[in-house]
Amino acid sequence: MRTTHRWLDEAGHVYVAEGGPQGQCVRFNSAASAVWRALLAGQATPDQLEGGDRMFALSLLADGVLLPERSS
């Protein structure tokens, strides 16, 4: 997964600039931050996640905050 958003991982949380529905900067809670890190590090894909984590990842995809990797 990849993102075109600028983001900050600091003080235990991930912050995504313009990641909110009205372009706000959003802060993810600890669990969501862990999902974000795993997705961007290629350690997981939304399909590999379960329950709330999967829903969260899919919502990021639907909102365009996360994008699929470009196929080479």
Partner: protein, 576 residues
């Protein structure tokens, strides 16, 4: 007695000396009807300015109560004044009143006594009365050690002040009033027992009193994120005291009997002040020491306000354990206008919580915060980072708690600077007197800097004082301007790199004081001394891309540039 303007005011001349009060014959009914003592009620300076200064509500209640009994008085609020107390007393001719009452806190005791001395020197006939939490705690000392003080009114002031004013009006002795302490001719203190607490708070008139203030008052507002509107706000008190025993709390001095007002009375007060001020107040800050003691009662108050005007939002302060009592009540409160809760967290260390007699474990703090976060309610954090016996382990627990629960974003940054204040009359003050084998002077507010028991903690605290002096003003300004700018850009539909960078820079800027403290604690934990000259070397690099603090502030300033921004400090509570 007819009063004149301050510039032409003269002393009444109705009395020749303080003892006359006790021996003068009572006036005839006709004479008494014509004489009403000139009364001034004064809130002396606490020695520092406060941008969120509000009217002294205790004095306002007393003044309104006297007026409801036909006795007018004038109010003077010098709460945030930085000028010499004698100059303020002279400017406002406090020596021209028959009765001068001071509301005294530990912080303002010296200034109150200096003003009282100035008054007494120029008008020995004036009756000087002290009240408030500090005066209550050291009533005997005040009348014995300070000849300018005639009387101390302990605890609630309404009834004793009314009786005192009536006695002065009738030229009857003012000694022996219930709830007061005075000086006997022998020089010793004498007291009457406390009167019963005022049980029916609805019977009190609303705290409608005008104060002459040296600095005026900021317009009280609240920015409601939900409606996106800056609202005119009003402070309302719906209860008195608190049934808990927190060892540091000055409310204990006034007595622990918790009493409440009815929802109808609270609504009526809002309508009263809306009409008086011609302002459609849309947010109510409940100033109760503890609004949420009885969740159902608290809900009934908010329901009544919502029925009166569904556009009104509210906020209140309470303890963590009470938050866990009734999540359903809080959820309903949110539906009908609750916006934030000021939460007395105080510490994440079990030993500190025990010293503070909070009666809760750190897990209760965590659960309360998570409950409010789950409900989507904002939290205003009350925290005591440092007390004399704080250890590095305590500081680590505190920082870990703040970090874990997302409070590194929190502004204002007071939580990491706040030190315990050893108020007179509180159990924690007595605890440290015993622990340190010393007795603090009656009016002394001990400087915690000299009381730290752990050198590493003292070094961290000193580093935080340095940081606050050196960097906090620039951070506050950059955050205030930057948040407004980011909001303006976002609302205007601007997107792209500049907005993204500014948003992340603001997050980083919010983190800096916490990260700085975290670093100081880490360094101190390695046994390395943190020396004065090294404080600047510990400034963190932060943000994305990682940036040193001076450059981070400069980048935010550059982003803001020439944007025209309508500054309002309340907007600092927002997260752009």
């Amino acid at each position: 007695m007819a009063r004149t303007t301050p510039a032409t005011r003269k002393t009444s001349g109705t009395r020749q000396g303080p003892e006359i009060l006790r021996i003068a014959p009572a006036l005839t009914p006709a004479e008494a009807a014509e004489f009403s003592p000139a009364m001034a009620f004064v809130n002396p300076s606490v020695g520092y300015s406060d941008r969120r200064k509000s009217k002294p509500i205790g004095l306002a209640y007393v003044m309104a109560y006297l007026r409801s009994h036909g006795l007018e008085s004038e109010g003077f609020d010098f709460g945030g004044a930085l000028r010499e107390p004698e100059l303020l007393a002279a400017e406002h001719r406090l020596d021209t009143y028959d009765i001068v009452g001071f509301s005294v806190y530990n912080e303002s005791a010296d200034n109150a006594l200096r003003m009282a001395a100035w008054v007494k020197e120029r008008n020995p006939a004036a009756l000087v009365v002290l009240g408030g939490p500090h005066a209550t705690a050291v009533a005997g000392h005040l009348v014995v050690a300070h000849p300018q003080v005639d009387l101390v009114v302990r605890r609630e002031g309404e009834e004793p002040m009314l009786e005192i004013a009536r006695r002065v009006a009738a030229r009857r002795p003012v000694t022996g009033v219930l709830g007061t302490t005075w000086r006997e001719p022998s020089g010793e203190a004498a007291s009457r027992e406390d009167p019963p607490f005022i049980e029916d708070l609805d019977s009190l008139p609303f705290p409608d009193a005008r104060f002459t203030s040296d600095s005026g008052y900021p317009t009280l507002t609240y920015f409601d994120d939900v409606s996106g509107r800056l609202k005119p706000a009003l402070t309302v008190n719906t209860s008195r005291s608190c049934p808990y025993n927190c060892s540091f709390c000055g409310v204990l001095t006034i007595g622990r009997r918790y009493r409440t007002r009815s929802p109808e009375s609270v609504v009526e007060e809002i309508g009263y002040f809306r009409k008086r001020d011609g302002i459609p107040y849309q947010h109510i800050y409940f100033s109760d020491a503890n609004f949420y003691v009885n969740p159902r009662r608290s809900l009934a108050v908010i329901e009544a306000i919502h029925a009166y005007d569904p556009g009104i939002t509210v906020s209140f302060g309470t303890r963590v354990n009470q938050i866990l009592r009734s999540e359903d009540v809080l959820a309903r409160m949110k539906e009908i206008g609750l916006r934030f809760v000021e939460l007395g967290i105080e510490s994440a260390s079990p030993t500190m919580l025990e010293r503070l007699a909070k009666g809760v474990s750190p897990q209760v703090n965590v659960d309360a915060v998570r409950t409010l976060q789950r409900l989507g309610l904002e939290i205003v954090v009350d925290f005591i980072m440092f007390d004399p016996a704080t250890t590095l382990a305590d500081l680590r627990l505190n920082l870990s708690f703040l970090r874990r629960l997302g409070f590194y974003d929190y502004v204002p940054h007071e939580a990491i600077y706040t030190t315990l204040v050893l108020y007179q009359g509180t159990p924690i003050r007595e605890f440290y007197e015993r622990r340190h084998g010393r007795v603090f002077a009656p009016n002394e507010l001990p400087d915690i800097v000299g009381l730290y028991e752990n050198d590493d903690v003292a070094a961290v605290a000193a580093g935080m004082r340095w940081f606050r002096r050196a960097w906090q003003p620039a951070i506050d300004t950059a955050l205030a301007d930057g948040e407004l700018c980011a909001e303006k850009w976002r609302a205007g539909g601007r997107t792209g790199d500049h907005l993204s960078q500014l948003q992340l820079d603001l997050v980083a800027l919010r983190h800096v004081p916490y990260l700085y403290m975290q670093h100081l604690v880490e360094v101190a934990g390695t046994g390395l001394p943190v020396a004065d000259e090294e404080y600047g070397a510990h400034l963190p690099t932060t943000g994305a891309p990682r940036t040193a603090l001076p450059e981070l502030i400069a980048r935010v300033r550059e982003s803001v540039g020439d944007e025209h921004l309508d500054r309002d400090p309340s907007l600092l509570t927002r997260f752009a």
